[in-house]
Assembly symmetry: C2
């Protein structure tokens, strides 16, 4: 799904973006939160909360579930990570600057996730909601399947 690349750059830019965003919004991107974000960004794939927990443990001996869930909540709330409901897993947001609804392509082959947030989908969702006189507040759209590379 992601052609071979220097992923350290992805991590680095995700972290520095997050710092800028938090700076601007007056949020505290503490060490803990930054480390959790870094672990979420360890790959372009879904990351489980308890895997983050284990890896935190390496550095700071005593991490307990609330530690990581609280950080994830913070990061979610401010659009830095997303939760994938169909997997109970988390993924870093690939364009956290723009406030937007996010849809996901989840490859079962290479276990990578790509955000696909386009107007066409949003329009279709809104017009369907309208038809039903429904006022949407939060949307989960997760498309599982095989990416170009993995379907060959």
């Amino acid at each position: 799904m992601f052609e071979s690349h220097f992923h350290n750059e992805c991590i680095h830019s995700a972290l520095s973006n997050a710092e800028k965003i938090c700076m601007v919004k007056g949020l505290r991107l503490t060490d803990l939160r930054k480390r959790v974000l870094e672990l979420v960004w360890a790959s372009h794939g879904p990351v489980k909360a308890y895997d983050i927990l284990d890896k935190l443990g390496d550095k700071s001996a005593s991490a307990k579930p609330p530690t990581v869930y609280r950080s994830l909540d913070f990061l979610k709330e401010h659009g830095l990570v997303h939760k994938l409901n169909s997997l109970n897993a988390y993924v870093g947001c690939s364009h956290p600057h723009e406030r937007h609804v996010c849809y996901f392509l989840i490859c079962k082959g290479c276990h990578q996730v790509k955000e696909c947030c386009n107007r066409t989908l949003t329009k279709a969702i809104n017009s369907t909601s309208d038809e039903h006189h429904f006022r949407p507040s939060s949307i989960t759209l997760e498309i599982e399947g095989l990416c170009e590379h993995c379907s060959k």
Copy 2:
């Protein structure tokens, strides 16, 4: 979301539909599976696995988690119920005859769920997938918000 109605008729018709479908497909809609389906259909809202478990317990003393999860798996697999990933809950399929992808409107006010499975959405999802050369195999689309009645 659902105007006042005689819900017993919903339950009854869901069960008799299920019987027909299983008959045709040569599937065994056992007593247990039928009771689980009935409990899922207790409302038009999401139902939790452990609530089903509790209610099963009333009749058959010793129900354990695998009992209900196995039945739910069977019902899911054959399109008689759907799982709502954003809620970890289950809902009866409102038109199990047609093989189809299902999208859901979930009202946070009255806790009712409506299937909205239209071509426009499917087309938008497929064309987005195409753009990314992605081959979808399973789709989760859950729209949370307020229904017409509850948004007044």
